[in-house]
């Protein structure tokens, strides 16, 4: 079920009413309702996928309990690896099987020994990359004794399948989300209103910014050979805003919806396009995934503890794995590699933790230096996104060649004024709200209700009008 569908518009109020009015007196029943609702939400795509999530939840629940009963290190390690193998095995099969087969075939053909490919017609279960990482975090934390395993199977199943963030994150840690299922939730007016505000902004990002940028980005990327450098630049910019609006919009809707049910999810995006260097960008983009890789991959590999070589090696590993996590295509791997390259000078110069605060923390506008830094960082990410969006590495390279040609200085043939105005409005609101969790968190809160409601109604009106033009799926569902 998509957030931007009529199905969800009916589903959400029904679950909300049952949750707060029917099951509110019994915590177990309330959690059970969340499990059922989440399975309905997930099964709406394809009920067969439910078996995977149920199996994955059962495996990690059982292994968690076993880990608690076992003190023997070798047995504990075996249990941990069992969980890793089962979870990554599913992920590997559904997401990467065909990629590996194709890559082997290509490699053999390259060396003059062509072989017949044996690919399978596999459908990627929605959100598998997200919930796999979420359940893995539970088992690893239990293994590391950072978390007591749960005996409450309903809470555990609710934690794995919690519908607002099930299919595209934020990837929650068991240490943060699971305990929230143990405690009785209370309804707070301010929390619910705040949730609605965040949902509203999420829809604006998705429906108005992302979907409309997608229309032009697709048009330009799909016929890139026919366009001038300046139009290709527009295409890359449209995709840059599309991916941000799409993914951070989803996160906002997920976090806002969770707040309606009394849950607190972690911030997933912190205005990444206002970053002053790539290190800051990666502290602000898809935070739940970046921190997951940091805690469960980078640090176990030695993190920044070893010498320079080890730091460089570990950095490249997490960026490459992160690229590969996004999809079974060389374009994603090169996207990860490119980001690692961007990161390298900062790492070597020990300047990767220079910008830990918010840009222009105490002023309304950035300084000239900050503006230049933001512009450069933004430019680098735009180039990297070309690889992320392109159909193949060759496509990305020819796209960039075309972009950096002499026609870059010509007038773009595709320049939708309405959309460009909306993007500027969007950047403006995001800049104003950059110190908050989401752009309109405190915007106009000091104003009268009439002004606030007028603003929200204008946003809804824009969403309505733009939603009727073209609807697109969330990009991150494919990951």
């Amino acid at each position: 079920m998509y957030f931007n569908s009529l199905d969800f518009a009916l589903f959400l109020p029904i679950v909300f009413i049952l949750y707060w009015f029917v099951t509110n007196k019994n915590l177990k029943l309330q959690n059970a309702l969340l499990v059922v609702a989440s399975y309905v939400f997930y099964g709406w795509w394809d009920w067969r996928f439910l078996s995977l999530i149920v199996f994955s939840s059962l495996v990690d629940y059982t292994i968690g309990l076993q880990l608690n009963h076992t003190a023997q290190p070798s047995k504990r390690k075996l249990l941990l690896w069992s969980s890793i193998l089962v979870n990554l095995g599913f992920l590997g099969f559904f997401k990467y099987y065909n990629f590996f087969i194709d890559s082997f075939v290509e490699a053999f053909s390259f060396f003059g020994s062509p072989i017949q490919p044996n690919t399978l017609d596999i459908i990627l279960p929605v959100g598998i990359s997200f919930y796999t990482f979420q359940t893995l975090s539970y088992t690893i934390d239990v293994y590391k004794r950072k978390l007591e395993p749960t005996r409450d199977i309903v809470s555990f199943f609710a934690f794995v399948s919690f519908f607002p963030q099930l299919v595209a994150g934020p990837i929650e840690r068991a240490t943060h989300l699971l305990p929230q299922f143990y405690k009785k939730r209370k309804f707070h007016y301010s929390q619910a209103v705040d949730g609605c505000r965040q949902i509203l902004w999420g829809f604006f990002k998705k429906v108005v910014i992302a979907d409309n940028c997608a229309e032009y980005a697709n048009q330009i990327f799909n016929n890139s050979a026919e366009h001038s450098g300046s139009t290709l630049l527009m295409g890359a910019l449209f995709f840059t805003f599309q991916i941000y609006g799409d993914f951070s919009g989803y996160s906002d809707i997920a976090i806002g919806t969770s707040r309606l049910f009394g849950f607190d999810l972690k911030q997933n995006f912190a205005f990444p396009y206002f970053s002053r260097d790539i290190a800051e960008f990666w502290r602000r983009w898809h935070i739940s995934l970046s921190t997951w890789f940091r805690d469960y991959l980078y640090i176990p590999l030695g993190g920044s503890q070893g010498g320079t070589w080890m730091k460089v090696r570990n950095t490249f590993i997490i960026f490459l794995v992160s690229g590969f996590w996004h999809g079974a295509n060389w374009t994603f791997i090169i996207w990860g590699f490119l980001n690692a390259l961007y990161f390298l000078p900062l790492l070597l110069a020990k300047r990767n933790r220079t910008h830990l605060n918010v840009v222009a923390q105490d002023s309304k506008l950035p300084s000239i230096i900050e503006l230049v830094q933001m512009g450069l960082t933004f430019g680098l990410t735009v180039i990297a996104w070309v690889f992320f969006r392109a159909e193949s590495v060759t496509h990305a390279v020819t796209y960039l060649k075309g972009l950096f040609s002499s026609s870059l200085l010509s007038l773009p043939t595709i320049r939708p004024t309405n959309l460009l105005v909306l993007i500027l409005f969007f950047i403006g609101i995001e800049w104003i709200g950059r110190r908050q969790h989401y752009a309109i968190e405190v915007l106009l809160l000091k104003q009268s209700r009439v002004i606030r409601w007028a603003f929200y109604m204008i946003i809804i009106a824009i969403i309505f009008v733009f939603s009727s033009d073209n609807q697109q799926e969330f990009i991150y569902f494919q990951f």
Binding site: A9, F187, Y189, M457, F464, V465, S467, S468
Partner: protein, 300 residues
């Protein structure tokens, strides 16, 4: 909780009332259109003896006013550029729903493209958008997944970005609507055409089954409403497509009349009457329309 629900409800009631202002733009949208034939169909403004449905070949190549003069049958051209047979079926269904049945329907075929999958012809939803103030049109858009069910309640969901523009849409010289609905091409396109003489092979496996069904539905509609269906093969600046003709004959009900342009007439091999390889200019359209009139007069 009560406070939250009350606030939410109040917000949406006010929004619901205020958004009704959007009907100003919805009602204004048709006024920006040069081509308002669809609106006339839905408003039931027609009472014609003969209507023409088809794609650009229909709207360019047949001069409905000339046909009216030559046959004495009141005629109107309801063909649209770039549309497929599914859209043509929609036009016929809509016409019959809101207007008295015509005596004859001319259905212009697009040769190998008539039943083919994909482009260049498709169901042009963009032609429906400006007229979504009509529930019938809006329901059609909902059925096609181009609008959501909310548009039955919220006017804003019937609007497009373009509806806020105050400018009238630009009309190209070959999109100027004449009194009887035709849009003849005034001049030849500045390109040199090459007559394609090779034999074409028709591929049945490239057919869209929905388009086949649409053709059958058009035939059935005409039959049930006592309408004489005349299918028309318009001229192209290339050899006649016998492969398509063969396939067409398998699908066509033998009671229907078929007009094939005079393939032996050398004028159809003269580049000067063509706009491009599949569309005639006005002079060519006059010749072709006369041929159709002659057929109708001799089969009255």
């Amino acid at each position: 909780m009560k406070r939250f629900l009350f606030t939410l409800l109040s917000f949406f009631i006010i929004f619901f009332l205020l958004e009704k202002a959007s009907w100003y733009f919805i009602n204004k949208a048709p006024e920006k259109e040069h081509d308002r034939r669809l609106e006339k169909i839905v408003a039931g403004s027609f009472n014609k003896d003969l209507i023409i449905i088809g794609s650009s070949r229909g709207v360019n190549n047949i001069l409905a006013c000339q046909l009216e003069d030559e046959t004495g049958l009141s005629s109107y051209n309801l063909s649209y550029k770039g549309v497929d047979i599914l859209f043509q079926l929609f036009i016929l269904e809509t016409y019959l729903k809101f207007n008295p049945s015509p005596k004859k329907v001319l259905l212009l075929l697009d040769h190998k493209h008539t039943f083919a999958k994909g482009n260049p012809l498709f169901f042009r939803d963009d032609l429906l958008f400006p007229f979504s103030k009509y529930n019938y049109i809006n329901n059609k858009l909902i059925a096609r997944g181009k609008r959501n069910y909310g548009s039955k309640i919220f006017g804003l969901l019937r609007l497009n970005r373009k509806d806020f523009s105050t400018k009238k849409k630009k009309v190209l010289p070959n999109e100027v609507l004449t009194d009887c609905g035709s849009m003849p091409n005034p001049i030849k396109r500045p390109i040199t055409l090459e007559y394609q003489d090779e034999k074409l092979i028709y591929q049945v496996n490239n057919e869209n089954p929905k388009k086949i069904e649409a053709f059958k539905a058009i035939q059935k509609l005409c039959q049930t409403n006592n309408i004489k269906l005349i299918t028309v093969f318009p001229p192209n600046y290339k050899a006649f497509d016998f492969g398509f003709m063969k396939r067409f004959n398998q699908l066509n009900n033998s009671e229907n009349s078929v007009i094939i342009y005079d393939t032996l007439n050398p004028i159809y091999k003269n580049e000067s009457i063509y706009f491009d390889e599949s569309h005639l200019i006005r002079d060519g359209a006059k010749i072709f329309t006369s041929e159709i009139s002659e057929f109708i007069n001799s089969n009255k």
